[in-house]
Amino acid sequence: MALSLQLRDVQIERGGRSLFSPITATIGAGTLVYVRGANGAGKTSLLRALAGLAASSAGEIRWGVSGETASASVATSFVGHANAMNDALTVLENLSYAAALAGQAYQPVRIGHALDQLGVFKLALRRVGTLSQGQRKRAALARLLLRETPGSRAWLLDEPFVALDVDTQKLLEQLIANELRAGAIVLLSSHQSFSIASPQLTEIAL
Amino acid sequence: MARTEQQSNDRFQGRWFWRYASPAAFYPVAGRIEKIGWFLAITLAIIGLYIGFFRAPTDAQQGEVYRVIYIHVPAAWMAMIIYLAMAFWSATGLVLGTRLSFMMSHALAPTGAIMAVIALWTGALWGRPTWGTYWVWDARLTSTLILFFLYVGYMALAASFDDKKKGDRASALIALVGAVNVPIIYFSVNWWNTLHQGSSVRPGSSSMASIMLTAMLIMTFAFWAYCVAAAMHRLRTQIIERESGAQWVKELVK
């Protein structure tokens, strides 16, 4: 189940202009990649391209699972600015939808466990529209914990600490560290300082 | 002009009517009104139907079908009267900020809508034998249909707010807007109808025997009593729902 990621001369254009100079990198299992850069440097664009949600304008992005090339949709889980939850549905309904689209059968217990890990178990049956910003973010992050085996997917996190209170920030750092230990790759962008115990740390500075 | 309930309380403190603006104080009163309502509704309905079906003669022109009138006309009247009452309580609620007024108009709406449906349905069934068709675009019929739409709008709006207080005031506002428009709509529909001279047939204008009229009036009072009773029941349910944190409600349940 070893994950790997190779970038070769990756470039992204917006408004007819390249955002950053070509990126080349090889990233192995258990690596934390800190994507940094000032506002507008292109962090969000890069993470979305890595998640297969947008095209890069040049170069090659190759995800590997157990040595074989895999599509981004198999190899990654993405959590960005938008929380990917419908306001009218409950947290549980939103998460089971996400799980099913990721190919997992309906397992409320696992969803409950994921929510519990982020301290929002008791919000499971609340409609997302009634939650505060931080509560929504926590529920959205629970999506990451739905995978069957820890470490089986790369996490692509665009400013995951935003809206989280201090305790939950700590919690998330912990969860990321665990996932890394289980062999995942985690790429994250953040303007807040954080400290994650990680065997391997790489930076991509845009 | 618009006050909060607190401000109204400061202003009207101690007046006799204000005493009953509190849900807690009105709850038992509503219970008594409800009981009287059920009693009157049943007794009057029995008397009215007895006269209507066993004393009133066959109509010279229409035969027996006319007996639909004993429910058709009261229902049509109640549909209109209830809308007016609803608008009145909505206005009171907006001006004084009293919770009870909003609850009153919420309690009235479903019954009013049902009355409109009954008027439409009985009218349609009556129309088939008399006019040969279930529906004509007569002014009175069309206005009833629009009245029904207004009820539906009011209820749909009230239901689309999660926040009860917001829903109260929002639906009260739309009830008022509707009430201001009802006379205009009625006037214009009437006018349209005479313009087009579409249906040569329209309800009304047949002279009624006084015994039929008596039965119809009795039935009208029966409907009135029923609507009051049903609204009071709904009002009490709402009071329980909304005040469910209050001590007196808890004691009530025990």
Partner: protein, 53 residues
């Protein structure tokens, strides 16, 4: 008694469908409203017990 027999009463001069269709609809509407009213009352009373505070 203005009716010759009960069956004449039910027939309503051949217009039974329209007359009883109207009264039947009224009955159904009222019954439905009463059932809904009672159901709502029951639910409200039950939720009082659960209410926190």
């Amino acid at each position: 008694m203005i009716w010759e027999s009960w069956s004449a009463f039910w027939a309503m001069g051949g217009r039974g469908f329209f007359v009883w269709g109207s009264y039947g609809a009224l009955l159904i509407a009222i019954l439905a409203e009463l059932i809904v009213l009672r159901g709502a009352r029951k639910k409200a009373l039950e939720s009082v017990d659960e209410f926190p505070r």
